[in-house]
């Protein structure tokens, strides 16, 4: 261990557990961390790896039943483990502060922003009410909140998610702490806002000379914002190194695999994504040896019986592995995917024409809130058979509403969806139900989409029964075949959904969607509830099944890398409108709309050498009051007077590539637009 040189917080051999009624979870196991002044240490790991518990241990805020079992936490030489609560309180919010994941629930709903920001100032700095108010005002300005004086009297629900997270930061930094623990500070935020908040945290860390512990699951965030990285797996640190060294010369197979599964914009679409088989171990009963051994390609007998110690391989680079690897996997080694079969040009299988969905504003004024909102306003696109159409946009842009209309879960206010020649809004009753066979859906949360009271067998049988297909024996045979397709053993039929992991549940949901042999599957955020390593398994499976059955997908995601990997054509949505449509390459390599470019720029690439890019400011306005003219103009760096007056019409930039912008990033083609 290096000593001195600005060392602020040193965690050594930290173990923490949670006692449950009948068992104990070994959540953190022998963690070493070192934070230096002015430096960001990234702590990366998948859900359940113990990274949040580590942060809470440092704060002395473990949930009830949690306790630090061993190890030491030293703040500038002072031991924090075992410190009396009264003294710990003087450190919390004063010398060590913490920011949590969900800004929507982290603020007290019934207190004003001003009161909440001023609270630690009065508590720790002994300021008067007036002084605390002044300081709170200063802090709000510091975190980039416009008109801070007005905001002091606002309540949390009046603020957007990004603003609330800024308030959280102001609150955490109000006493100028020495250490800031940021636990997934941007996971709940949209990608454009995420970039703003991370930049703010980075700048403030430099300005106040803090040490920052950035806890995240996102390798991209780490690559861009951390100086050094510690990788956690199943409660322990497996590798720590300076960021560049970790990304280019990692030694632990888990680090290598984690990076390989992280999708990139540059990911060749023809290749399968790398994925790690299996799931992390159950920490109620952790394995004796290396906890990654069961999923590791390099594991030997020694790994399964003897846990490797965390030891320095080079100054500043520590590792816990018996069989280290050397550097990242070569992306080209993964086998090529069978090409998508070229079905004869029979015209689009799915045609969405000028679809509008308007909520509220009904005839019954008794319901209060009479403001109407156009969740989707005039969206049109078509998908060729066997292709994937990707739909991207930030939360609240109307993409999920659009998905529901495509599968006729919601009737459109106007416009139409034509699938395989049938107009969905003209079909009724039995005819509609029969037509639904062709058009299935995958949901974001597979646990919600599977009836908790049904066995998997009954869940998979349901599509056949609903459509009256086959005898019981034929159905069973078909169900077995489906399980083989999605890679689940037949023994799952007798089990219930809660017994499976997220990835397995999404496989079950996919099997169910496939049961009726549909032509089109609409997948609404199919992998956003899953961890990176499992995410790539599901995406690969979706692609393989597409190739095999000639499926047409509509993949909806806020994650541009997922859509990049899956889609042939992409639509970008903003406030209910499709602002740009084109082939995947058009959108990702030659965007014409400033919003598309801004979205792309905001994606954190898992590459420490990726340079800085332009970012979009502020946040999406309320859909209840969309801006006049071009809806993006309030956030657009290129906006001019004309954008407020006149709504831009889609113009062509390449064949099949159009964007609605008055001042696009590229010159449009002059040719007359054809259907």
């Amino acid at each position: 261990m290096m000593a001195g040189d600005g060392e602020v917080l040193a965690v050594e051999g930290l173990s923490a557990g949670i006692r449950l009624r009948t068992s104990a979870v070994d959540a953190v196991n022998g963690v070493d961390l070192l934070l230096r002044k002015g430096e960001t240490l990234g702590l990366v790991g998948e859900s359940g790896s113990g990274k949040s518990m580590t942060g809470l241990s440092i704060m002395g805020l473990l949930p009830s039943g949690g306790h630090v079992a061993a190890g030491s936490i030293k703040l500038e030489g002072r031991e924090l483990v075992g410190l009396p609560e009264r003294q710990y309180r003087r450190i919390r919010g004063n010398e060590i502060a913490m920011i949590f994941q969900d800004p929507m629930t982290s603020l007290n709903p019934t207190k004003t922003i001003g009161e909440q920001v001023a609270e630690p100032i009065r508590l720790h700095l002994g300021a008067s009410a007036g002084q605390a108010r002044e300081r709170a005002l200063e802090m709000l300005a510091l975190v980039g909140i416009a008109r801070p004086a007005e905001r002091l009297g606002s309540y949390p629900h009046e603020l957007s998610g990004g603003l609330r997270q800024r308030v959280m930061i102001a609150m955490a930094l109000s006493c100028e702490p020495k250490v800031l623990i940021a636990d997934e500070p941007t996971t709940a935020l949209d990608v454009t806002v995420q970039a703003q908040v991370l930049r703010l945290l980075h700048d403030l860390k430099d300005r106040l000379g803090m040490a920052m512990l950035l806890i995240t699951h996102d390798m991209g965030v780490i690559a861009r914002w951390a100086d050094r990285v510690s990788v956690m797996y199943a409660g322990g640190i497996v590798e720590s190194a300076p960021t560049r060294e970790l990304f280019t010369g990692m030694r632990h197979p888990y680090t290598q695999a984690l990076l390989a599964c992280t999708p990139r914009l540059t990911q060749p679409r023809e290749n399968t994504l790398y994925s790690i088989a299996g799931a992390p171990p159950d920490l109620l009963d952790p394995p004796a040896g290396c906890r990654f051994a069961a999923r590791c390609a390099h594991a030997t007998e020694r790994c399964e019986s003897e846990a490797p110690p965390l030891a320095a391989t080079r100054p500043g680079h520590t590792l816990a592995c018996w069989h280290p690897v050397d550097g990242p996997l070569d992306p080209a080694t993964t086998p090529a995917q069978a090409p998508v079969p070229d079905t004869e040009q029979a015209g689009p299988v799915l045609d969405v024409d000028d679809l509008v969905k308007e909520y509220g504003g009904g005839r019954f004024a008794l319901r209060g809130l009479k403001r109407s909102v156009k969740a989707v306003s005039g969206v049109s696109f078509a998908v060729e058979p066997g292709r994937t159409f990707g739909l991207v946009g930030e939360s609240g842009c109307g993409k999920s509403t659009l998905a529901k209309m495509i599968v006729a879960l919601e009737p459109p206010s106007s416009g139409s969806v034509t699938a395989l020649g049938g107009k969905l809004n003209e079909l009724r009753g039995r005819a509609l139900r029969r037509h639904r066979r062709n058009l299935q859906m995958m949901f974001q949360d597979p646990l919600d989409a599977l009836d908790p009271r049904m066995r998997i067998g009954a869940i998979l049988r349901e599509p056949f029964e609903a459509q009256g297909i086959g005898t019981a024996a034929e159905q069973l045979a078909a169900i077995r075949e489906l399980l083989d397709e999605v890679g689940l053993p037949h023994s799952v039929l007798e089990r219930y959904p809660h017994e499976f992991s997220g990835g397995q549940r999404q496989r079950i949901a996919l099997a169910r969607a496939l049961a009726l042999n549909p032509r089109v599957i609409v997948a609404d955020e199919p992998v956003s509830a899953l961890d990176v390593s499992v995410r790539s398994q599901v995406l690969n499976l979706m692609k393989r099944l597409q190739a095999k059955h000639g499926l047409t997908y509509v993949v909806i995601s806020h994650d541009l890398t997922v859509v990049r990997y899956m889609a042939d054509a992409v639509g970008v949505m903003y406030l209910g409108k499709l602002v740009e449509v084109g082939s995947s390459d058009d959108i990702y390599l030659r965007p014409a709309h400033p919003y598309t470019a801004g979205l792309l720029a905001a994606i954190p690439e898992p590459d420490p050498d990726a340079g800085d890019r332009i970012e979009i400011g502020s946040e999406m306005p309320s859909p209840y009051e969309p801006p006049s003219g071009c809806r993006f103009r309030t956030r657009c760096p290129r906006a001019q007077a004309r954008c407020a007056e006149e709504e831009p019409q889609p113009r062509d930039f390449d064949p099949g590539h159009s964007a609605a912008c008055h001042f696009p990033l590229r010159e449009p083609q002059v040719t007359v637009r054809t259907g």
């Binding site: 009624r21 790398y274 006729a408 139900r433 599509p463």
Partner: protein, 294 residues
């Protein structure tokens, strides 16, 4: 690397209901509650066959005897053996509690389901009706109704049931509304399931838990309510008796020190109501556990 996900090894088959039973059995209060209910039901219904007493003909000679060998809990003003009387009264109290709860739950479930499924204006009107009835104090209206009926087990059950379906109706409606927005209902719709299929295969099985929990609480409430009616003089008529009437008769002799008329029967009453509340709480928790696990 491979796409074959190995199913997480689960040592034994854990069905949803079995999981609920397990978590229920882990709750000591719940087991205690079930024990008390079983014991009291046996006591009231099987007891009179083992411990035979005269409960019809008045015996003024042996009135208000304190507990002794012949009468372990003494006798009341009419000379009835109190222990035997508690058994007899318990039969009526338990029956009325159960019948009233079943009637209330049946009406409430049906009403709440219809409102929740119908939605819109129908739902609005149906819920205003519930609001209206809920704002009339339950005990008042039940007492007024009781002035016009001769009190029998059936009539008391009907009166109590007829005015206590409101809470279950609200509960079931809320449950139906929340279930309707769940993903698995959307999934069933997308696969072409009929409304009837969605109701019978998804909504009813999932709402069942809430309904079952509600029945236990309703039984507890109905037993208390019927004891209030009995206490205020609207209980069963001689020679029938339930615990409330028994207690109200006992009150007159409280000042004479005839404690055995009050505490044994009062204890049974509190015990059985508590037992049903324990069971209801535990059932609610175990259903939650089952749905939230993992």
């Amino acid at each position: 690397m491979t796409e074959t996900a190995t199913a997480r090894p689960v040592p034994e088959l854990t069905s949803g209901w079995r999981l609920a039973v397990r978590s229920f059995a882990q709750n000591r209060l719940a087991v205690l509650g079930v024990g008390i209910i079983v014991a009291l039901v046996l006591f009231c219904f099987a007891g009179p066959h083992l411990y035979v007493t005269e409960q019809i003909t008045v015996d003024p000679v042996s009135s208000l005897l304190p507990p002794d060998a012949a009468h372990p809990l003494g006798t009341d003003a009419q000379g009835f053996d109190v222990l035997g009387r508690i058994m007899r009264g318990g039969q009526a109290s338990l029956q009325i509690g159960l019948f009233a709860a079943l009637i209330a739950t049946a009406i409430g479930t049906l009403y709440g389901t219809v409102a929740g499924l119908a939605g819109g204006v129908v739902d609005g009107v149906m819920m205003r009706v519930v609001d209206t009835l809920l704002s009339i104090p339950f005990l008042f209206i039940v007492l007024i109704a009781a002035t016009r009926f001769s009190s029998t087990v059936l009539s008391l059950s009907l009166i109590l049931g007829a005015f206590s379906w409101l809470a279950p109706a609200r509960l079931v409606r809320a449950e139906v509304l929340s279930l309707r927005s769940r993903g698995f209902v959307a999934a069933a719709t997308v696969m072409g399931a009929t409304k009837l299929r969605i109701i019978t295969r998804h909504l009813i099985p999932n709402a069942l838990g809430v309904v079952i929990v509600n029945i236990t609480f309703q039984v507890a409430d109905a037993i208390i309510a019927v004891s209030l009616l009995g206490f205020l003089g609207f209980g069963l008529n001689y020679p029938d008796v339930e615990w409330g009437t028994q207690l109200s008769e006992g009150v007159s002799y409280l000042f004479e020190g005839a404690w055995w008329l009050i505490y044994p029967v009062g204890g049974c009453l509190v015990l059985v109501v508590m037992a049903f509340n324990f069971v209801g709480d535990a059932l609610r928790d175990s259903i939650d556990v089952r749905l939230r696990r993992r």
